[in-house]
Symmetry: C2
Subunit: 451 residues, 2 copies
């Protein structure tokens, strides 16, 4: 059993934990990072296609207002390139495929107007939610006692508009509108700068990709941290007292003056704390479920849809894949079609045999992009609910009642324990950018308390 | 490190686990029960008032249709006696106290009619929810995508009626109407035989008490099981394969052919499984938060309210205690006033210093029962969210989306692992009676699989 000592122990070597560790070390504090997996990067994970080509099976995009993430990438020498968007998008509508340019699909104008007025109202409401204390919004109690689904049923005229919002909800939260607190949805949109920022490719959260894959950020951070990062070291137990923390992980124990837990809140609950955490904090973590998503990619010799004037971006209303993207490497070789199974579709797909699931994905691709899509040369998928050390993606989404009743426990340190991770961010909550913010914030907290 | 072997290992020595263990042994199987605490009984817990007098700081009541629980009590020689109900009840209404007899308070008739029509409708809807598969109710998707609060806002005419429903919700689930899936509420009421059965003292779930305290059931079961029950043995890790389970607890390891986990679902998630559990099961347990309740009792030389013609049952609309009962021992000595802090009131009270909380409770008692209530000779409370091995009472209540998306994982065995506990019951889900049902059911499953 290895024993390490540091000023601050960091649990989790995702972007949040590694950012925190780097900030601490730069400020002169010693750190030990304990990571459960045999790799760093958390919810970012590169997949090698051969020939030095990379796709990500985890989080991958970066958008124009994600200044912390962009700044980190610049510092680490990781470049970006635009998500492929040339040509026309496709939407499957009333059983037929329709092509369109830009963000507004060619469907019934009344439906589009219905969606637009609802989004306008939601955006206006979202701006009333304080990012550091959503429970203090003037109508917090009312908004947190209803689901997004209830609001949509009361405020959308058409079923078709509800379907579009459902697809958007799945795309952003990997949950259904009925799973989500309206207050959480409003908070989340505000933290991203509005609903367009969440939904859009150009100008939004899906605008750009990282050259070499998003995991490269974590790999470079870890390289800088060197032997301070301990892999295959899941933390099982934490003893904590005033200014003293003892962490017991598989194969290593760490002693530190402070600890930063940079793992999903639902996983924080699975560590044995001594003394046990206050009920207010524990019950919060009982109410922070992770979303459900399978990220699926079919690999082709070339991105054949481009020759047909298609961007690869499509909306397959019937599912199970409801959103696709061209996820080919920067040079367009090989061709990669990316499809998401999200929310209820991911839950159903998670119960299938892998062969059946693959077929369901490929069938959707063929429906949307023609028979050539039916014969990929390879297929890659990742089901994040199955991952022991994540247990769901993209992140946590609050059910009703959690923010108003327990929100104040989200970031409040408990003795020497500090909380990081994308779920604790106030800006771009749930995104890589939020993870970086949370790491910097928790590091500053820990430093201040070290004196 | 002690090592034990048995046909079946049972995790948790509450009513569910002990019932399962007894059933298994009676069928000829050997058992090992691993209990985290230094006592048995789980969410039932006797408190000694001295002179052989007992009150319960956990679950205590039994109602007329709880046949499994009543049968177990008969077998174990534990008697029952009626909850004290002679005299008039009190309701605090528009700032004044009103006395009334029976279950219907003396308030505005329009409000009462409003409540009655809503309850009638909810009862009718509840009967459409299949107890073994709530997600198959004809309107399951619709009902599971909205909170009880949303339904009440759409179906109650008056704010006063909403307040009464809110108090009822807190009393049954220790959650707020906005915290709960409507489908869950309907399932739960159906599983108890209707809303009256949940709410009522006479004829309902609060009708009777156990002589010697409800924990006596578990104490006697454990006595029968003798050395098979291992205390202070929290299970940290479970390795499982086909027909083989290895459980690692503090101080003891157990090898068995099957295991029954009879602990709250949210705590099931905190054990390290090898191999890890399927995502469908894991994500269910991320969506099963425990309620929030503090059970508070003030002890007086005598139940002085009885001399004033009062039953001790009252509704304190302003809170923080919103429901009280006379919880004196069978002979009426000493006098015990029982008050519940539930849902949001329990969450607020959980953040108070204990002295402040005690004062808030006693102040409510004095408001409802006069100045003599202000000077108890003793005060007893238990905050169940603080309990490391329960983490909230009365039990789990599903947020929206959980039943329809994940419900099929609730009882489905995973290899040699079976699931018990009051949350897994189909009849009197969440109650002691449901715990007994779940223990018997899981034992039968395990026995059948042992062949």
């Amino acid at each position: 059993m290895a024993e390490v000592e540091a000023d601050v122990a960091v649990v989790g070597a995702g972007l949040a934990g590694l950012t925190a560790a780097r900030a601490l070390r730069r400020a002169g504090a010693s750190v030990a990072v304990l990571e459960a997996r045999d790799r760093v990067g958390g919810r970012t994970l590169n997949h090698d296609l051969g020939d030095g080509k990379i796709v990500e099976v985890g989080g991958q995009w970066v958008g124009p207002t994600q200044h912390r993430l962009l700044g980190l990438a610049r510092e680490l020498g990781v470049g970006t390139f635009p998500t492929y968007g040339a040509g026309e998008n496709v939407i499957e509508w009333n059983g037929e495929l329709r092509r369109y340019k830009g963000t507004i699909p060619r469907i019934n104008a009344a439906v589009l107007a219905d969606v637009a007025q609802a989004q306008w109202r939601l955006d206006r409401m979202a701006r009333e939610v304080p990012l550091d204390a959503p429970w203090q919004a003037p109508k917090a109690a009312r908004w947190d006692a209803q689901t997004l689904e209830s609001w949509l049923r009361g405020n959308l005229a058409s079923r078709a508009a509800r379907t579009l919002f459902e697809i958007g909800t799945e795309a952003v939260w990997a949950q259904e509108p009925g799973d989500l607190s309206l207050l959480h949805v409003l908070f989340y949109a505000h933290s991203a700068g509005g609903f367009d920022a969440l939904f859009d490719t150009e100008g939004g959260a899906q605008q750009d990709r990282f050259v070499g894959g998003s995991q490269l950020l974590s790999l470079r951070l870890a390289q800088e941290l060197g032997e301070a990062v301990h892999l295959q070291a899941p933390v099982r137990a934490i003893r904590h007292a005033d200014g003293e923390v003892a962490l017991q992980a598989d194969g290593v124990t760490a002693r530190a003056r402070r600890a930063i837990l940079a793992i999903p809140p639902t996983l924080c609950a699975r560590i044995a704390y001594d003394p046990p955490l206050p009920g207010h904090r524990d019950q919060l973590t009982q109410r922070m479920p992770q979303g459900t998503v399978a990220k699926c990619m079919a690999i082709y010799d070339e991105p054949f849809w481009r020759d047909q004037g298609l961007s690869g971006q499509s909306t397959g209303v019937r599912g199970p894949v409801r959103l696709t993207y061209d996820n080919s490497p920067p040079d367009g070789s090989p061709g990669v079609l990316l499809g998401f199974l999200e929310g209820r579709f991911a839950r159903q797909a998670g119960l299938m045999e892998s062969q059946e699931r693959r077929q369901a994905v490929i069938d959707t691709f063929a429906r949307l992009f023609g028979p050539r899509a039916a014969s990929p040369r390879d297929y890659v998928e990742r089901l994040w609910a199955e991952e022991e050390w994540t247990r769901g993606c993209y992140g946590c989404a609050m059910p009703t009642g959690a923010w108003t009743e327990f929100g104040s426990a989200l970031r409040a340190p408990i003795g020497p324990l500090h909380w990081a991770g994308a779920e604790t961010a106030t800006v771009w909550s749930g995104y890589m950018d939020g993870a970086v913010q949370s790491g910097d914030r928790a590091a500053a907290e820990a430093l201040a308390s070290l004196g």
